[in-house]
């Protein structure tokens, strides 16, 4: 396991803070109570009884009524660098991550050009050291140019610091190529993260195949397009004893396929996005391209199976698949529109509002699943235990706000939650010991 601080970001002074009176909750560490969190030089020194700790020289944050949680970790974002900086860059993308309460994100390599060589990884890491306010890890692609044919120089990529391998955005059509990558993984390590989709079954599909696609006359992407590939790749991973991670599960059949693979002992983890946990293909009825993403929003039955999978641990973690797009790529007919939605800034509030408040998921479980993405890729899971690097998010659980069509930290505005009333707002994020984000209106003072 590596520290989150081993990722790349702009290093500054460690935070010197005392966060007073928050409900400190870290289910993995068995912590739940009103405490003062003392952070010195970016390290959590003490969880003190309220008012009992010395605060000399520390900035004091009044956090009564707030949640103080281990900050979240997102193993799946698109920061669009290099090549698509009009959608997002390392600065805006990590600002969005901080605003969402994340202390670490892993960026996908489907950029232009794709991240398929060591110099690209090195350049991105250097750029992140100048621009990123939250630690970022970079995936390299499994195949050159994400074309699905030849392996990248995986050993060199690992040495350059690639956190793992993924051709996300495109499925690996060839079982042979995937098998070679999994074999080679024994030499180089690094989790192979898979976008599971059978292009033969997806065809020119633009949304989930079901009654809504039938009514709209849109070509459908059937659930089995995803689950059959998961079954194939889980079998390959088991055979090669390889470590794989399944990106963005969307269908009930996929949850079942991952559960079977886990039962059989495969080294497999899986993630799910906030939008697949809270929305269905009914949202597509108005043909608004804000609801177009891959995999698509599926049926209510699928959504419930994803929630159950997350609860049962078949799905290990939440990932946003934050996929910014410029407005002119979305202001076109649905079939023409780019796939993808932003997600970093809404992840916690959406899941808290739609799943925790109504009693569908426990807050403890949500915190656990929003941090577990770190472990899946070999990073220390954020914790608020004394003695650890400070990765903490402060959230006002009562704050009610409306997700807008604009006003995001992200450079792009393609949120599928625009117009939703949300509860819970991130006030402050400490990532790898540094203050990465503060909400502008959040008042603070230096302790006397």
């Amino acid at each position: 396991m590596s520290a989150i601080s081993s990722l790349s970001w702009r290093r500054n002074e460690g935070a010197e803070l005392i966060v007073r009176g928050a409900r400190v909750l870290d289910p993995r560490a068995g912590i739940d109570g009103i405490r003062d969190i003392v952070i010195r030089q970016g390290e959590i020194i003490e969880l003190a009884e309220p008012g009992s700790a010395g605060a000399d020289g520390l900035e004091s944050v009044d956090a009564e009524g707030m949640f103080a949680l281990p900050a979240f970790f997102d193993p799946h974002v698109h920061l669009r660098v290099p090549g698509h900086e009009h959608k997002e860059d390392l600065e805006t993308g990590t600002r969005a991550a901080g605003a969402g309460g994340f202390c670490g994100v892993l960026a996908m390599p489907n950029t232009e050009p794709p991240v398929d060589g060591a110099p690209a990884v090195q350049a991105l890491r250097r750029q992140a050291e100048r621009e990123a306010s939250v630690p970022v890890g970079f995936f390299a692609s499994i195949t050159r140019a994400i074309a699905g044919d030849e392996l990248t120089e995986m050993a060199e990529l690992r040495e350059a610091g690639a956190v793992g391998f993924s051709d996300d955005g495109w499925p690996l059509r060839s079982a042979r190529v995937l098998r070679r990558a999994l074999q080679y993984q024994r030499l180089v390590g690094g989790v192979v993260a898979l976008h599971e989709e059978d292009p033969e079954l997806s065809g020119d599909g633009a949304m989930h195949e079901g009654p809504v696609s039938a009514a709209l006359g849109l070509a459908g992407i059937p659930s089995v397009s995803e689950s059959t590939m998961i079954a194939r790749d889980a079998a390959l991973a088991a055979y090669e004893e390889a470590r794989v991670h399944v990106l963005h599960l969307s269908a009930r059949e996929s949850v079942e396929a991952v559960a079977r693979a886990k039962e059989a002992g495969a080294r497999i983890t899986a993630e799910v996005t906030p939008h697949h946990l809270t929305m269905t293909d009914e949202a597509v009825r108005g043909l608004d391209a804000r609801f177009k993403m891959n995999p698509p929003l599926r049926s209510e039955e699928d959504r419930l199976a994803l929630i159950e999978g997350l609860r049962a641990g078949v799905i290990d973690c939440v990932a946003t698949d934050h996929a910014p797009h410029a407005s002119d790529e979305k202001e076109v007919p649905f079939e023409e529109a780019a796939m993808g939605v932003t997600g970093l800034e809404t992840a916690f509030p959406v899941l808290y509002t739609d799943l925790v408040i109504p009693g569908v998921l426990d807050l403890e479980l949500l915190v656990e699943r929003m941090t577990a993405g770190a472990a899946a890729f070999g990073f220390d899971v954020p914790t608020v235990e004394p003695g650890s690097e400070a990765n903490v998010v402060l959230i006002d659980p009562e704050a009610e706000w409306e997700a807008g069509t604009e006003g995001w930290e992200s450079r792009s505005e393609n949120s599928c939650f625009a117009g939703h009333r949300l509860r819970g707002r991130v006030l402050m994020t400490v990532a790898a010991g540094q203050v990465a984000y503060r909400q502008r209106s959040f008042a603070m003072g230096v302790a006397a």
Binding site: E209, S213, A214, A215, G217, L218, G220, P222, E331, P333
Partner: protein, 321 residues
Amino acid sequence: MRHLLAVEHMERADIERIMERAESFAEVGRRDIKKVPTLRGRTIVNLFFESSTRTSSSFELAAKRLSADVVSIRSAGSSVDKGESLKDTVATLSAYDPAAIVIRSPHAGAAELVTRWTDASVINAGDGKHEHPSQALLDVYTLRRRLGSLEGKRIWIVGDVLHSRVARSNVLAFGAMGAEVTVCGPPTLIPRGIETLGCRVSYTLGELGEADVIYALRMQRERMGESFVPSIREYATHYQIDSRRLSPRQLLMHPGPVNRGVELAPDVIDSPHSLIAEQVESGLVVRMAILYELLAGAERPGGARRRPEDVPELSPIGEPA
């Protein structure tokens, strides 16, 4: 109504109002001078991003019969081929202050999208495989003239339902008017979940005898290459409507253009069962009624910048009112 985007958004009363208006235009059509001044001085833009003979000519003539100025733009040779986005094209055309934009697009939802970018009323003349509401309205009109009412009538829509916007609009429109609709075709060409639109599904013509009306869909030859059907020959064997399958009491419809010898046997096309020619005729008066409903109807609020100057009237030009 402000726009005509989808039958899905229409109430039965909306459909009936347009039917009655179409009847009155049919009466005008029998006079020597077939033109009325209702939309004099107003502009209608036809924007067709897919080839079309029937629908585009029908809308154009309907607009001219109502004395509107008509601009027709087809994709070939237009700025659309030069990479201009739909949004920019609509913004450009909106500078002419059109009262209505009639749009056909290969993409579902295109017409609805256009409503965001213009003050004009928008008429969907076919959006991808989604809907083709004016076709459905003219089909309802054609059937009402022949049957009086669609209440309780059994209508079978036969063929490539998957790729048909006509099928989707007609399932909804026939259903709204009280008919019992069945869609029939090979399982590869029936979309999963279509029954939620309120129709039954059949994969064979076995029960076709129960139908009062048979509505055949166009079967495109390209479908064979995409493995939807093994061959056009096998398709025709199982789903072609011929005189053997058609009983004397049944009516036959088709949205055109017909593939003779594929979905319809040549001998039924011009038979007394066939309403195909009447459908084209109905298209004109129904599209006049649609334009009237959106642009001159009584309850039209705001909308395009210019309001109708004339009190709506039906008396032909040159005739004393």
